[in-house]
């Protein structure tokens, strides 16, 4: 398929259609409303369902109802809207309903701002709703990757019968980049959806529910969900490395567009003889814990530097992964302020200088 210059929001919309998800419920919120505007025209062309609900809360419940049919369905929103969806997301996890939810993040908390941020990491990865459940969370760093992960998300949602969330900061939605859509998508063999609600014709009635008044039944259900999340940890960890060599003095851990900014900084300091590697998690849950540990304990690595567009959220998971074997430090800007490569370069150089000074003292 030829390359097309496309805005992230629109590419995400088209990717969903390519994945056979022509059922979309939405509510307008900057910075992702273009998804809805694009699909308002596009869905009728593919005979799909498009509906703008009265609130993100209602929309998330419409997704629940639509997912119960067994068809592919998705919604997109941004941080405050995603907060309103948390109740329904918890219900969908509890009722084991597959769907895809995209969060094009903006500054928070509260009404926050409308510029890009990554301050919803905890909300998405640690579960923003009630109960023992997780979401499989993927984080693209380019419009092309957003397309690829969007298509993958639907397969993963069906494979694990669990909502999947794709989170990208505002830039993912707003920037235009050349993107290529696969011609034919062969879905892996996914489990049959015999749980779907199709009417009790020739079978006993089926119920999609998450209520288990009997504590032992609820416990069983929760451990069953837990097993799914363990399986995700085993099979669905995704990450990318950039210039990781055994000459690196520092390993940067960063995701989304923040990681691309770090790449520019890494290239710049390399020219000055400073070797820095980048480890970019693509799956935020399951978190690449073992892989990060493996990088951090390498002898050449003096320090781990976590860089996020937040006041520090993923850094806690990195600390958990490194278990104190190496110093983990953090640099972040938030509220919609996007760090420049120069700021990252300064961070790197400060660390190197501090390291060399402490060596002299010792």
């Amino acid at each position: 398929m030829t390359k097309v210059l496309m805005k992230g929001n629109e590419a995400i919309a088209e990717a969903a259609i390519k994945a056979g998800a022509n059922n979309y419920f939405c509510y307008p919120i900057t910075p992702q409303t273009e998804v809805a505007e694009y699909l308002a025209k596009r869905m009728p062309e593919v005979g799909g369902v498009f509906l703008q609900g009265e609130s993100e809360l209602a929309v998330a419940n419409m997704i629940f109802g639509a997912a119960a049919t067994g068809k592919r369905v998705f919604t997109t929103s941004s941080s405050p809207g995603i907060s309103l969806m948390q109740e329904a997301i918890s219900y969908m996890a509890g009722a084991e309903l597959p769907c895809v939810i995209v969060n094009i993040m903006r500054g928070g908390p509260g009404l926050g701002g409308i510029l890009p941020a990554q301050s919803d990491y905890f909300q998405s990865v640690k579960g923003g709703g009630h109960g023992d459940y997780r979401l499989l969370v993927l984080a693209p760093s380019s419009v092309q990757e957003a397309v690829d992960l969007m298509i993958l998300s639907f397969d993963l949602a069906d494979k694990y019968r669990n909502p999947v969330m794709m989170i990208g900061d505002g830039m993912i939605g707003q920037m235009m980049e050349p993107v290529e859509f696969p011609d034919k998508i062969e879905s892996p063999d996914l489990p049959p959806k015999d749980w779907a609600i199709t009417g009790a014709k020739g079978r006993k009635p089926q119920v999609v529910r998450s209520l288990f008044l009997d504590p032992y039944k609820l416990e069983n259900s929760s451990w069953h969900l837990h097993e799914k999340y363990e399986l995700m940890k085993k099979n669905e960890v995704r990450f990318e490395k950039y210039k990781v060599t055994d000459k690196n003095e520092i390993i940067i851990i960063s995701y989304g567009t923040m990681a691309r900014i770090c790449q520019t900084a890494i290239d710049a300091v390399e020219a000055e003889g400073i070797s820095v590697g980048l480890f970019r998690p693509i799956s935020l849950f399951p978190f690449p814990q073992d892989e990060i540990y493996a990088e951090a304990i390498k002898k050449n690595i003096k320090e781990v530097l976590v860089i996020e567009m937040s006041t520090g959220q993923m850094v806690e998971d990195v600390e958990r992964a490194v278990v104190g074997k190496k110093k983990v430090s953090f640099f972040g800007r938030t509220g919609g302020v996007v760090p420049s490569p120069e700021e990252v370069i300064t961070q790197i150089k400060d660390m190197i200088r501090k390291k060399s000074k402490s060596k002299k003292k010792a």
Binding site: V49, N61, F64, T198, A200, P205, V207, L211
Partner: protein, 254 residues
């Protein structure tokens, strides 16, 4: 029974044989039966989906012989919207109490009704929160004692009880809105007609229907089942007048 014996009345096929958890004399059971009888008479059991609320009727799916979805508190109309939009060929009905529909779910029911979702909404008004043990609901009457208005509902504090069917009839889109009651056999017979028509309108793809059904709650009203029906007649009927508030196809039926 010899050969020319006939069954005049029996459990509808769309209703399971499960003994309900409802309190003795609670008229939820009657409303379930009326819905099941409508589903049977229209022959739609195998393509019907019910959406149960959070409240006493959260376990409704144990009593119906058709597929069901269990909605979060107040969200049944949104759940039903999502399902029906993808499966317009299937019959979708929501079953909600007054706390579920008017209180937490007011936004969802208003917008589902205003979009004209082709749903059949069954709304049970018993002027109290039943499952949680008898708290004040938006439909609790003035002076009515509940566990969260122990001195009787004070309108200066909480405003007036909400007449939901009248409120909905202020919207242009809904097709059929009627309030009925099930506190006596004669009222039950009227209620059955209304519920059946609401399902019929959905089969004919005509639009949004809601039936508000006045219902008793002996346990939380602190009365016997028979006393409750009298209390409903004497107190709820005056404030919640029965009747059809909107029926866009009434003339056609004549």
């Amino acid at each position: 029974m010899n050969n020319n014996s006939k069954t005049l009345f029996a459990r509808p096929e769309a209703m399971t044989d499960v003994v309900s958890h409802y309190c003795p004399g609670c008229t939820h059971g009657i409303i379930h039966r009326l819905a099941a009888e409508a589903i049977d008479s229209l022959g739609i059991r195998e393509k019907t989906v019910g959406v149960a609320p959070v409240g006493c009727s959260v376990l409704a799916y144990n009593y119906f012989n058709c597929d069901f979805l269990e909605a979060p508190h107040g969200r049944a109309p949104a759940i039903a919207t999502g399902f029906k939009r993808l499966r317009p060929d299937m019959m979708v009905f929501t079953y909600q109490g007054d706390g579920d529909l008017i209180s937490i779910g007011m936004s969802e029911i208003m917008h589902a009704a205003n979009r004209g979702e082709k749903l059949t909404a069954i709304f049970v008004n018993n002027a109290i929160y039943g499952m949680t043990g008898g708290q004040m609901a938006p439909t609790t009457l003035q002076g009515q004692i509940t566990s969260t208005c122990p001195a009787g509902r004070d309108l200066n504090e909480t405003g007036h009880p909400i007449r939901m069917t009248e409120l909905l009839s202020g919207l242009v889109t809904p097709m059929y809105l009627e309030r009925v009651s099930v506190h006596s056999p004669q009222h039950i017979i009227q209620a059955k007609k209304a519920i059946r028509k609401a399902f019929q309108y959905q089969m004919d793809n005509k639009g949004f229907s809601l039936i508000e059904v006045l219902s008793t709650c002996p346990t939380n009203w602190g009365q016997t089942p028979n006393e409750s029906t009298d209390w409903l007649e004497g107190n709820m009927l005056p404030y919640y007048p029965l009747g059809c508030f909107k029926d866009s196809f009434a003339e056609e039926d004549k």
